[in-house]
Symmetry: C2
Subunit: 219 residues, 2 copies
DNA sequence: CGCCGACCTAGAACAAGTTTCAGAGTTGAT
DNA sequence: ATCAACTCTGAAACTTGTTCTAGGTCGGCG
C-alpha cells in the first residue's frame, strides 16, 4: 500500500533528514525503522551500557544500513538521548497513572525521584548509557538535551503539584534536577552508594522550599 | 646527576606505571615529562577544547612517544581529569591567599563559586575540555574523579569556614557541588545563560543552610 | 511504459583513541 | 665494565564513530 510516497514528498519539501524533533512527519515504514533502531539500541545498552551500543551493531540489529542509521540519528549521542526521551515519556505516563502519595511537596518530589531511581537501578547499564550520553552531549545536541530537561522539570512540577511556578520555584526545581543528575552520575560511576543517593535527594528536596515563593510575600 | 635510578627502582617495586595518585614518587625527569604533557594538553585545550586535545598531538607537543603518554595517563580522560586536579589546586591556593569577604556562609560560598566560574569563563575551551572529561569518566577513573570531588569539597568548606562538618552539612555541600557541576555543564553547552548560572548558584547557597546542623539541636 | 527523485543498502574510506612490539637508552648493582 | 631491569621511542595495527560513493528500490508521473 503506497501510503509512503506523498509523505515522503512532504518530508522532502521541508528537510533532508527526519529529525528527532516533532518537525517532520514520518512514513509508517520510517516510524517502524525508527522504533526498530531505538529498540535495538536499548537491547544493546541493557547488556553492556554505553560502550556496547556500537553503531555498526545497532544498524545490523535493526536491519538498517549504517548510512540510514546516521540519517535518523546524526550521532551516537543523538541516538542515546532520543532513547532517554523515550524512557522519560514512559516514566511520566506511569507517574501520572500512579502519582506519589506523600503529604508535603518535598516528600512527593523525593518519592518521585526515588521511584525513577529504582527504575534505573533495574537496568543499570541502560541508565549508564543514557546518562553518559546526556552529559557528554555538546552544543549540537542542545535541542534534544533541552527537551529532556524540560520533561524532567515537568515531572517534578507534577510531583510538587505546581502549575504556575514562580521564577524562584523554577530555580529551586533546577537545583533539584542538578542534584538528581549529578547523584545519578556519581552512583553510576561507583562513587556514591545507594544511601548517599537517597540522602542527597532527600536533602535537596527538603531544603528547597517549594511550598511558597521566597522573595515575594504570600498574604 | 643520576638521581633517577633509585626512585625508578622504588616505583618498580610497587607498580608498573606512574600513577596520578600520590602513590609512586616520580623521577625528576619523569616529573618534568609529566608537566610537559600537562602543559601541552592545556595549550591544546585552550585553543579548541576537548576535541582539540588529541593524543598524538599531545605526545608530539610534549616531546614524548605516544606509548609513553599512555604510560603516564592511561586514557585521554585520565589526562584531562589530571589537568583539572592541577587547576583546582592552583585555584585553592589562590583562594587561600585571598579568601572571600562575604558576611554569611552562603555569601562566601556563592562568592567563591562565582570567582571560580569567572576564572573558567576566561578560558571556556579549557573549561569545556575538563568538564567534559569529568562527566564522561567511567569507573576506571573513579579514584581521580573522587579526588577532584574531595578537592572541591575542601574549597567549599574553606569558604564556609567549617572544619568539623556534620554529616548533614556534608550532604548540603554535596548538593552545592552537584549544582555547581550541572550548572557549569549547562552553561558550557549553551543551555544556560550567565544569569541563570548566577541565580542557581546563589539559590542553592542560600537555601542550603550551612550555618547550623539540621537534625540535632544547637543550644 | 519507462523515467525521476527520494530513500535505502553495501561497503570502502577516514579519523582519533588505544594497543602492541621490537629496538634503543638509562641506571643501579655486581 | 658489564649486566639486568627498567623506561622510552617509533611505527604499525586495531577499534569504533563518522563520512563518502556507487548502485538499487519504489511509487508517481509524463
Amino acid at each position: 500500500m503506497p501510503a509512503e510516497a506523498n509523505r515522503d514528498k512532504a518530508a522532502k519539501t521541508e528537510a533532508d533528514a527526519p529529525r528527532t524533533t516533532p518537525a517532520s512527519p514520518l512514513t509508517e515504514r520510517q516510524e517502524a525503522r525508527r522504533r526498530r533502531i531505538l529498540r535495538a539500541s536499548a537491547q544493546l545498552a541493557v547488556r553492556g551500557g554505553f560502550d556496547a551500543v556500537q553503531m555498526r551493531e545497532v544498524a545490523e540489529s535493526s536491519q538498517v544500513a549504517l548510512g540510514t542509521l546516521y540519517r535518523y540519528f546524526p550521532s551516537k549521542i543523538h541516538l542515546l538521548v532520543a532513547m532517554m526521551q523515550d524512557q522519560l515519556e514512559r516514566l511520566h505516563g506511569t507517574l501520572r497513572r500512579k502519582p506519589p502519595t506523600g503529604e508535603t511537596a518535598a516528600e512527593r518530589t523525593a518519592e518521585t525521584l526515588m521511584r525513577a531511581f529504582r527504575a534505573l537501578q533495574r537496568e543499570p547499564h541502560l541508565a549508564e548509557a543514557m546518562v553518559r550520553a546526556l552529559t557528554f552531549a555538546d552544543r549540537s545536541v542542545s535541542p534534544e538535551v533541552d527537551q529532556v530537561s524540560r520533561q524532567t522539570t515537568a515531572i517534578i512540577l507534577d510531583a510538587v503539584g505546581l502549575t504556575g511556578p514562580t521564577p524562584d520555584q523554577l530555580a529551586a526545581v533546577r537545583v533539584i534536577e542538578h542534584t538528581w543528575h549529578a547523584t545519578l552520575i556519581a552512583w553510576l560511576s561507583g562513587r556514591a552508594s545507594l544511601d548517599q543517593v537517597k540522602t542527597d535527594i532527600e536533602t535537596v528536596c527538603r531544603l528547597m522550599d517549594l511550598t511558597a515563593p521566597k522573595e515575594t510575600d504570600t498574604p
